[in-house]
Subunit: 331 residues, 2 copies
């Protein structure tokens, strides 16, 4: 290490620089919060000053804060040879090349459970909305059809429904807790059976679907889970089956889902996420048994406050060599 | 009693006639079910044959089945001098002149708890919808604004919200049970404090509103509760406050509510019921912090099946002199 680099490193240890990595649509949710770090956000600087900053500091930067779904690829990592940690701000980190991080011994953290309750609330509301057609009822009243047409179609009750939870992590567990209070029965699939949990476990999602009225998809997206909800799963779920997706769009084979709707071979869906956001398959726009949502299941001030705590907590833990709050297992 | 009347009475005891009283928009939900009774539904007959039927039987009819909100007034009762019971098919019986029934010693039953869980589910979904703008998000996506405008406004989290339940009967209790699972805190007002319940009790709705983020209105409509949610209550609830109404429209002073929205002095509302259904104040159609619903919180096949059980059960109990399943206290 050159003398200059050593000097930089010392400076950065006193008040470390955290490089912010984001796409323009995502703001740093806690800009202005007083921390022990200097956040450098290239999108708040001119390309020239960013270039100048990075040419001086890139080789010493140890922490990258990844805001929202900004991709962290091996090319990103190549630019930051001293990087030791990627602090993520979302629950799912499918935009981060985790294998590459593991290969380089770079730690990764996610949002932990900061969003879990808000996402679980949202999943439950999407489910009741699909079963009872609340958004559809609101459209019906606003289009002044109530006074004109009278009757609105029957919904379907929640109690007694068999709910299959795909991914019983922090979000899935909160969903289960809520739906028990509505008189639903719960089963789940997950990478492995959870010994602390009494809900029935199914080793694969097809078996779970065959035994469920509703699938609630809240696992993380990876190569293994990509298009996990495929044709076979939809067939097993059956004509009255409902799919709720609050995970990632690509967990569901969206083209196949549209085909199932076109053929009337699925009961309904509540979708907060899509394969190619913000684009939504246009075939879904006219369906009344679908609730469409612009990827906002986490979007509350309370979630952002909880996120701030996790992100700052992870950074503080990292820079003071304490255990991270929400490390991602890179296995 | 004349000999003819006695003969009729005997006939009716073997297979009693139950007179159906409904408005055209409401069907007898269990037409065709095999029972020990003969249902006579005037709307299925010509005026002449109804007239002929009633002229022969009206003086002997002991049971009236009131489907939906068909009014039972003292004039209705005058036509049926032998009437002993009004079997209602709704949870609220504001369309039945209960005082007049009491004066004439006519028993009254309602839907009991047949609808309670579906209504409670619906109330919870309306609440999450208002806080997280699910119907609004669906409108946003369907109008193709997501790809055009990008960001959707922040919602507000459910956990930690102070929920004031107005009327802790069968529906209110189910609402409370559900919202506890979402991390809300519960308080209530009711005609009297319930000794079996640990939620804090407020003797009047204004105090409850002052202490709540959300009011969920699920009490019955009577002279005493008419416009119970008035200007003072809305003021006490405050600018961020939310009102959910799954009871009856006239529990809320609707004109006042519209004024509060026009002045931005209330946070949001989820309304399944209105003062002058199917008419909804047009000022509400353009608001994004309001969810409008065409009085369908009870409308599921499962609720109707449960209702059938309660109605038939009440009739069978009445005709065999057993205790009624869901008597209404006429006090």
């Amino acid at each position: 290490m050159s003398a200059e680099n050593q000097e930089q490193r010392q400076l950065l240890q006193e008040r470390p620089v955290v490089l912010v990595h984001r796409i323009p649509a995502f703001q740093l949710p806690f800009a202005g919060v007083r921390t022990h770090f200097t956040f450098f956000d290239p999108l708040l600087h001119s390309p020239e000053s960013t270039q100048s900053f990075l040419s001086r500091h890139a080789t010493a930067i140890r922490a990258l804060l990844c805001v929202g779904p900004a991709p962290v690829t091996s090319e990103t990592l190549d630019l930051l040879p001293a990087l030791e940690i990627v602090v993520g701000s979302s629950a799912g980190l499918d935009h981060v090349d985790l294998q590459e991080c593991r290969r380089r011994d770079i730690l990764v953290t996610n949002a932990g459970a900061a969003f879990s309750e808000d996402v679980a609330d949202y999943a439950v509301a999407l489910l009741i909305d699909v079963l009872r057609s609340i958004s559809g009822g609101d459209r019906f009243v606003r289009s002044r059809l109530w006074a004109k047409n009278g009757e609105y179609p029957l919904g379907s009750t929640l109690r007694g429904k068999r709910i299959g939870i795909v991914g019983l992590g922090s979000i899935g567990s909160e969903v289960a807790k809520r739906l028990v209070a509505f008189g639903c029965s719960i089963a789940y699939t997950s990478r492995r059976k959870k010994s602390a949990v009494s809900y029935p476990f199914h080793a694969n999602v097809c078996d779970l679907a065959a035994d469920s009225n509703v699938l609630i998809v809240c696992c993380s997206l990876s190569k293994e889970t990509h298009h996990m909800i495929n044709k076979d799963v939809m067939t097993a779920l059956g004509k009255e089956g409902v799919i709720i997706n609050v995970g990632r769009g690509a967990l569901v084979d969206e083209k196949e889902l549209v085909q199932f709707f076109m053929r009337g071979e699925i009961g309904g869906a509540g979708l907060d996420v899509f394969e190619n956001e913000p684009n939504v398959p246009k075939e879904l726009f006219t369906l009344d048994n679908v609730v469409l949502s612009p990827h906002v299941s986490v979007v509350t001030p309370e979630s952002f406050a909880a996120l701030e705590e996790v992100v700052i907590g992870n950074l503080e833990a990292f820079f003071s060599n304490k255990p991270l709050l929400s490390p991602v297992q890179l296995d």
